[in-house]
Symmetry: C2
């Protein structure tokens, strides 16, 4: 009997197949057990009739509890009413591992209860759907950059100094005498890599010791960061736009089933098409003020500002040219107007806020030295980075896209904690 | 004038193109400058004749130094003698950024000198070739698992407890009161993910605070770890074999040019075909003893043992069924013989040693509890892991493959430090 994965069952209609999985749910109706089976690739109903399997097995199946691991053999049959399109007429069932008092039942549980049992919670249909969408998003991102000739160049996790400020860094003891800081962004290294390899990206875990407990923050999250030599702000915006369109299209193409499980409004995702509106920070501030928000020119946007801005459009909006004072030292000032920097944030629709931040970098050595001083950063820690301006500097730029924020938006989650298998937050380090 | 990447120059033969890059090298011969240009995608020779460009530009080009960033326009011309197959007849050249006294010259430099300048060293032809092969290996690995229906499920970097022993853990301060340890392996989480999603892999940075300074160790390295529900040791060995064959074939297919730059003996890689020899630890010990090595049954293999074993074969060798006492607590003992565990190591040929370690996991709750006690591990830290055996346990297994070791072997490097953009070692945290 061939072992078949549930997602492949359609290729075996009418055949006798073996499913190796777990009992997800069970109900009985007189002489028939309806067994919802899962094997990680999908869910399918097994129909076990007393007449087919005999009294002993039928009776034994009466006591099977949720998450018992079972090997089931039976005939695959098309059924239009079934979510997967198929059912199995069960012939034999073997219990592999028992399961008593499985702690996550169909009733409602509090989120802390579920997070304490995240290793089991991920077995639920909804959490599996989210993790599959996450998988698809990550692969879509990688395929996008690979197809465009970007080289993956991993940037280090252990760094000797901070990239942006020091208050949100996690220190790690590096053998007896040293302290290493966990990376907040691979960007500075990315810039070096772009000078070597032209177009690069890094994609790895990133760490921010933020004490905020909002639904938009994790202490450990994954970020993809492309960087291009010989590129300006417009190139960066074009790339960000193409990336987001490509990722959403891929999820729509490959993960319809999961979006249905998540009850996602598909039309909202289908409207994510080029061109994205591109508005300046100045315009954004005027819009917010006109709607009564208390923002003044010069301040960074808060969550409510981003939410209101993103709700103006049916697709992501790109806000560019932020006040230089609120942006990082390495951002290039606008040559036409030095009080704004050539940075861009991409805000997701439906109130999801920033998913991408980036821009053109400051390529001029003298100006960069000035900015390092103005930001009171230790120049010696950036000597290697300054070398990139000493030896053949070129205009360049890139951005970072937070994966959990994209997952959260595309799946329409309430909180980032469901967008990653094992979320890490201020009070959450287990399991 | 279209901006063209050097790797695409063949599509523009006879056309006037613009290359945006850096001057890698220059020599002059009377009325001709030969300019070796690089743009991250490749290297190409630009031929600038005084007759074509006039006295002024020709004279200016006489002073261009290594790593000056330049935009060059000229006609692409096929030339069989050229490594890339093409040259450019230069018409114009614009200096974008100067470069004086570039610190890495064609002369020999010591490795510490180069590692201190790793951000510049990666611009060299050899280092670029290695990083491109690394890129290809990582993408080959991901494509392999994705094509087989494995779901990428990221495991956490911050962990509350050690997976294998505690002496080689890096502690990080997690806000005021807690300590988090940086992951040594995603395996335990992988097992939970496999129970949810069937076939999974994680792929991320991994940390070991090893004080050894051998050529086989980094403190921060990347590892891919697949895990399969309903799988035994043979399934694990089959998967490892297919993966390695697939990765080597992909590099041979896509990165010939880079292997040539590295002067790699292609024939050695071409012999990496199925089936790989599979020998038991018992047989391996006998082989080593017959060759005069001082190993006794029961000991783990050292570097010299692995080197000698791997040199017996023209392809990777799989050594299985190690003494249970030297292996991790979660390995399943052989049901036929409890003194050996159902683990497997894959040793790369040409003396490169272990690239993969894995096996079948212990699925039985009572036996696992015994092993945790025997290893003097704190049971409470593993309660969530024990849940996997309490609720529908199934036979399962997987492995971890160290990316830098594979890069090192395929590129035939002397030391892992060249196999990653920014190596981290006992005394190396910069740049």
């Amino acid at each position: 009997m061939a072992h078949v994965y549930i997602e492949d069952i359609g290729q075996h209609e009418g055949e006798e197949v073996t499913i190796k999985g777990w009992l997800h749910n069970r109900r009985s109706s007189g002489k028939i057990h309806f067994l919802i089976l899962r094997d990680g690739t999908g869910f399918i109903q097994g129909v076990m009739s007393k007449a087919d399997v005999g009294d002993d097995l039928f009776k034994a199946a009466d006591h099977l509890s949720q998450e018992t691991s079972v090997i089931v053999t039976g005939t695959a049959r098309a059924d239009k009413r079934a979510p997967s399109g198929y059912e199995i007429d069960v012939k034999t069932l073997e219990v592999v591992g028992e399961s008593h008092d499985y702690p996550i039942t169909p009733k409602e549980h509090g989120v802390d209860y579920l997070l304490d049992r995240r290793h089991l919670w991920i077995r639920s249909e909804r959490q599996q759907a989210i993790l599959r969408v996450r998988h698809e998003i990550i692969n879509a991102v990688r395929d996008f950059f690979n197809a465009r000739g970007f080289i993956l160049a991993d940037t280090p996790i252990f760094t000797p100094a901070a990239c942006e400020g020091t208050t949100t860094l996690f220190p790690a003891q590096y053998f007896e005498e040293q302290t290493a800081y966990l990376t907040q962004s691979g960007q500075l290294y990315n810039e070096a890599n772009a000078m070597a390899l032209g177009k690069v990206y890094c994609f790895g875990p990133t760490f921010r010791a933020e004490k905020s407990k909002t639904r938009r923050h994790l202490t450990e999250f994954w970020m993809v960061e492309p960087e291009m030599a010989y590129a300006d702000l417009n190139d960066v915006m074009d790339l960000a736009e193409d990336l987001v369109v490509s990722v959403v299209a891929r999820v729509l193409e490959k993960r319809r089933r999961e979006l249905t499980v998540l009850e996602r409004d598909i039309a909202k995702l289908e409207s994510v098409q080029k061109p994205f509106p591109r508005i300046s920070y100045d315009e954004a501030v005027k819009t917010l003020q006109a709607r009564g928000l208390p923002i003044e020119w010069g301040g960074d946007f808060g969550g409510p500002d981003e939410t209101m801005l993103s709700e103006q459009y049916d697709r992501p909006v790109m806000v560019h040219r932020y006040p230089a004072a609120v942006k990082a030292f390495y951002m290039k000032p606008d040559p036409d107007r030095s009080d704004v920097a050539l940075g861009v944030d991409v805000l997701a629709p439906e109130g999801y806020g920033e998913i991408i931040g980036g821009g053109e970098r400051l390529a001029d050595l003298a100006l960069l030295l000035e900015r390092i001083k103005a930001h009171k950063l230790p120049q010696e820690a950036f000597e290697w980075y300054l070398d990139l301006r000493r030896y053949g500097t070129v205009p360049h730029g890139g951005f970072g896209m937070g994966i959990e924020r994209v997952v959260s938006w595309i799946c329409k989650l309430d909180h980032l904690r469901e967008a990653i298998p094992y979320p890490r937050m201020l009070y959450r380090l287990y399991p």
